[in-house]
């Protein structure tokens, strides 16, 4: 019988070794960092894919079925690289306060 009692909130995987994530890492939600978000004008978008390729957080991807760019609200940090690199200038920065789900509006961000 081990003398050690490991409380649930102090449980850590053996040797700090975790299963790899698959599509996202919810242990580090970063959407609550931003004060502005990129807004896309789908009509003007030419799917040049600059936003997709240049986002360090992989927050833009092309939905191959709709041929439209999809934005990830949970993780976008609001760095605005995408806005700066958008070839047809169809992205604009809009303050989070303008959105009902804007992170600065939430009582407790995430």
């Amino acid at each position: 019988m081990s003398r050690f009692i490991i409380p649930k909130h102090l449980e850590v995987p053996l040797g700090a070794c975790l299963p790899a994530p698959v599509k996202e890492q919810p242990g580090m939600i970063t959407g609550n960092w931003r004060t502005e978000r990129p807004v896309i004008d789908h009509e003007a978008c030419t799917t040049c894919l600059n936003c997709f390729i240049y986002c360090p957080d992989a927050c833009w991807h092309l939905d191959e079925k709709t041929e439209q760019m999809v934005w990830n609200a949970d993780y976008c940090k609001g760095c605005m690289i995408c806005v700066n690199e958008c070839a047809p200038n169809c992205l604009s920065m809009v303050n989070e306060l303008e959105f009902p789900d804007g992170v600065v509006r939430l009582e407790k961000p995430f």
Binding site: S2, F4, G15, A16
Partner: protein
């Protein structure tokens, strides 16, 4: 087929590693362990051992290569001596904390400054807090046997810890002794293939070792403490199985010689125990009831077994072939743990220590006799110093011849 050979400790380690079917070997030359790698390189070159022989760029790299290989799913082997062992210091905790059970052969050597090829235990003793299993062999046979046993201990899923398999430089590494090398199939039966619960495998991806917040740190440390609580039972099991499989009679933790009716004893690890036993034979002829208690594992320090052994005598002389400058006893490191083991005894023996064999000198029979006199006097007077530096203090002067 098992066969009797006449091998040095270096060769014994190499053939132990061969029979353990090590898969990744990382080498780098430093006296006196180099012979292990020279022998292994021949075995790999001849196709007698199927392994990757990686020429490390230094000892720090050797340990890194070994634990990388262990993480990827291979049985890994490396080794060093002296300052090579201390140079690799950064890598010991990542290997142990990452639960990567590679093995490092140590043919110990005095640390610089300045250059000294002689044997001292301080090199790897200074890594004893890093969370590895650690123990000394006293003969080429025991080196061979420990090499195989330590893999089974370290790879056990209750343990998952790397191991320092140590031998006295020169005294064991370079002096041949008669030993039995076992049949490969019998060793295979005793030591199953490497099997690790979390390897780096694209079929089952893991993220190994992310940054943690300080309050997660204690939880990981406790896991390592749990492993050290569980390892003694595993050691007893493994040694018992090895004894049965190969006809040995190792005591798992403490090897006793004439302890049952002893009044004084020498407590030490490694090859000088053999001289100590000769000294005991001579002392007994003079009516002095001496004994030898030889420690087989420094980590885990077998506190219970040591207490049981040392409680048999009235005075213990810890023979330290290591230094712990500024330590409580102003001598070596082992006395602190020996005294701790006996702390709760109603009739604690007097425990003192003798700094002997430093620099790689032989510990002579005369030195052991001088130690025995100090211990016998201590039994009479009830007192002894914390440490005696052999040949440099009045109680133990002029014993070197």
């Amino acid at each position: 087929m098992a066969k009797e050979v006449f091998y040095s400790g270096c060769a014994a380690a190499a053939y132990g590693a061969k029979d353990a079917r090590v898969e990744v070997i990382s080498s780098y030359p430093i006296r006196p362990y180099t012979g292990i790698m020279m022998e292994l390189s021949k075995l790999v070159a001849n196709g007698e051992l199927e392994a990757e022989f990686v020429h490390g760029e230094g000892e720090h790299a050797q340990v890194s290569i070994a634990y990388g290989a262990a993480a990827a799913g291979a049985r890994a082997y490396t080794g060093s001596s002296g300052v090579g062992v201390t140079y690799a210091m950064e890598c010991y905790s990542p290997a142990a904390g990452g639960r990567l059970p590679c093995q490092m052969a140590i043919a110990d050597r005095a640390l610089d400054p300045p250059g000294d090829f002689g044997s001292e235990h301080t090199d790897v003793m200074s890594a004893r807090d890093q969370g590895w299993i650690m123990g000394w062999a006293e003969s080429p046979q025991e080196v061979y046997d420990n090499t195989i046993m330590y893999y089974r201990i370290g790879e056990d899923h209750r343990v998952l810890l790397p191991q320092f398999c140590c031998q006295d430089g020169y005294f064991v590494s370079h002096i041949p002794g008669r030993m039995q090398m076992e049949d490969q199939k019998a060793v295979d039966d005793f030591l199953p293939p490497y099997n690790h619960p979390h390897t780096l495998d694209p079929n089952k991806p893991i993220n190994h070792g992310p940054q943690i917040f300080p309050d997660q740190g204690s939880a990981i440390n406790v896991q390592r403490a749990v492993a050290f609580d569980d390892v003694e039972a595993v050691i007893a099991e493994v040694v018992g199985d090895y004894n049965k499989a190969f006809g040995r009679d190792y005591s798992p933790f403490v090897d006793e010689y004439m302890m049952d009716d002893a009044e004084i004893c020498f407590f030490l690890q490694g090859a000088h125990a053999r001289t100590a036993r000769y000294a005991v034979n001579h002392l007994r002829k003079q009516g002095i009831k001496a004994g030898v208690s030889r420690l087989r594992f420094m980590r885990p320090f077998p506190t219970q077994a040591v207490m049981e052994s040392l409680s048999k005598v009235k005075a213990v002389g810890v023979v330290e072939t290591n230094t712990s400058y500024g330590g409580a006893a102003r001598g070596g490191a082992i006395i602190h743990e020996a005294r701790h083991a006996c702390y709760n005894l109603d009739n604690r023996p007097i425990i003192t220590s003798f700094m002997a064999g430093l620099g790689g000198e032989i510990v002579t029979l005369n030195e052991f006799y001088a130690m025995a006199k100090v211990l016998s006097d201590a039994v009479k007077s009830g007192k002894a110093n914390d440490s005696y530096w052999m040949n440099f203090e009045k109680e133990v002067l002029d014993t070197h011849s």
